[in-house]
């Protein structure tokens, strides 16, 4: 308990200091404003997303979790959605104060900590979607940008409201070439297809 508290103090102190720096200037742009280049997160900064019709073997997965090392057991997707992309910044401490929908926690955890949206490609499902498809936190998902065909592997790491679809982490959005502002609004109305493969959480990830 003591070590947890100490570690928490150190971590949150560092996060808070950076948060103090952030709060010196309020974010420019916004839902109704014109985003500046600094407000935009550029696609393809993380992961070498590739274009064209993707198969399991050429989808990018270089962000955080990497790509599943063995997709031979995946079979058909247990859950598929096709909808406008929404950016989930949860778990990314640098988004506090910028994104009105921000949450410190994610349902999944890595080493006891929330999954940082900026570092890990993850997707969000509802409890109902997970139950109906037999999905658990940690299962693999393939995310495809419907406009460009860029795709990348992600894991299910957050649980959102009933009926929600197309919610992906910052790292995942960047990996498939979707731009967004610091308030989590996407630039334009990009859409994504999310295909989830239940029973795959134990398959480890790595670089292609």
């Amino acid at each position: 308990m003591r070590s947890v508290l100490t570690w928490g103090f150190v971590t949150l102190f560092i996060a808070s200091i950076s948060g103090c720096d952030d709060s010196i200037s309020s974010p420019s742009g916004g839902a109704s404003g014109t985003p500046t280049q600094n407000d935009l997160t550029q696609g393809q900064q993380i992961g070498n997303a590739v274009s064209g019709n993707q198969s399991f073997d050429n989808a990018s997965g270089d962000s955080g979790f990497g790509s599943p090392q063995d997709t031979s057991q995946f079979g058909a997707a247990s859950f598929t959605s096709d909808s406008f992309a929404k950016i989930d910044t949860d778990g990314d401490p640098s988004e506090q104060g910028y994104d009105q929908t921000w949450n410190a926690q994610t349902s999944g955890q890595i080493n006891g900590q929330p999954v940082n949206s900026a570092d890990y490609a993850y997707v969000v499902m509802s409890q109902g979607q997970m139950a109906a498809s037999g999905t658990q936190i940690g299962d693999w998902a393939l995310v495809t940008n419907n406009e460009t065909g860029q795709s990348m592997w992600a894991r299910v790491e957050d649980v959102g409201p009933a009926g929600g679809t197309g919610e992906i982490s910052e790292a995942c959005a960047t990996g498939v070439g979707i731009q967004f502002q610091r308030n989590s609004s996407t630039v334009g109305n990009p859409s994504v297809t999310v295909q989830v493969y239940s029973g795959t959480k134990s398959i480890s990830g790595g670089s292609n």
Binding site: V4, L12, S78, Q100, G108, G128, M130, A131, V159
Partner: protein
Amino acid sequence: MRTSLISVLATALIANFGWAESKLETKQIPAPDGSQVLEIGDAIRVVNSGGSPSLTLASSVEGVQRVDAKWSPDSRRVVVVISYTRGSGVEAAYIDGSGWHKALQPDTDLPTDELSRQAGVSGRLVSQSCRLGDWLDSRRIRITGELIFSGQKKVPYGYTLVFTGEPGHLDRGGFEEGVIKGIEYHVR
């Protein structure tokens, strides 16, 4: 600066206690007639009086923040609300002549657009939660919930969950869909 640091440390302390105690509390909820128990631990199961599992509703509770469950007065049905930080779902277990079954209320039941329109709220749906109310009889139970949209705009809602008595279709997760259904949705 000093005040800010104290504030940050206090927040960190509270947050740490929150994390340390976020593990789901183990609970056993017996049916009124004592024939079954709903066990909430590493999984969520209906267990008979001999201790053998009759049915598993959830084999993992990773990330689950709260589980709310109530048995029907006749002990033939149990409704369970499984809640994560930003979303809840409703499941149920019931017994008939062929044994125990599990049922799921599909997301499409929740009329999010209609509720938000009635409340005059728009924006991005950020979170949704619900809790169990009282049983009206052994087939109907009240449920209350809340939708939270961007900008912290809240829409409290209520409905009645009904066991329809109709056959459902089995989904990939092994749940019957169509057996439980929400009716009389309204903004509270």
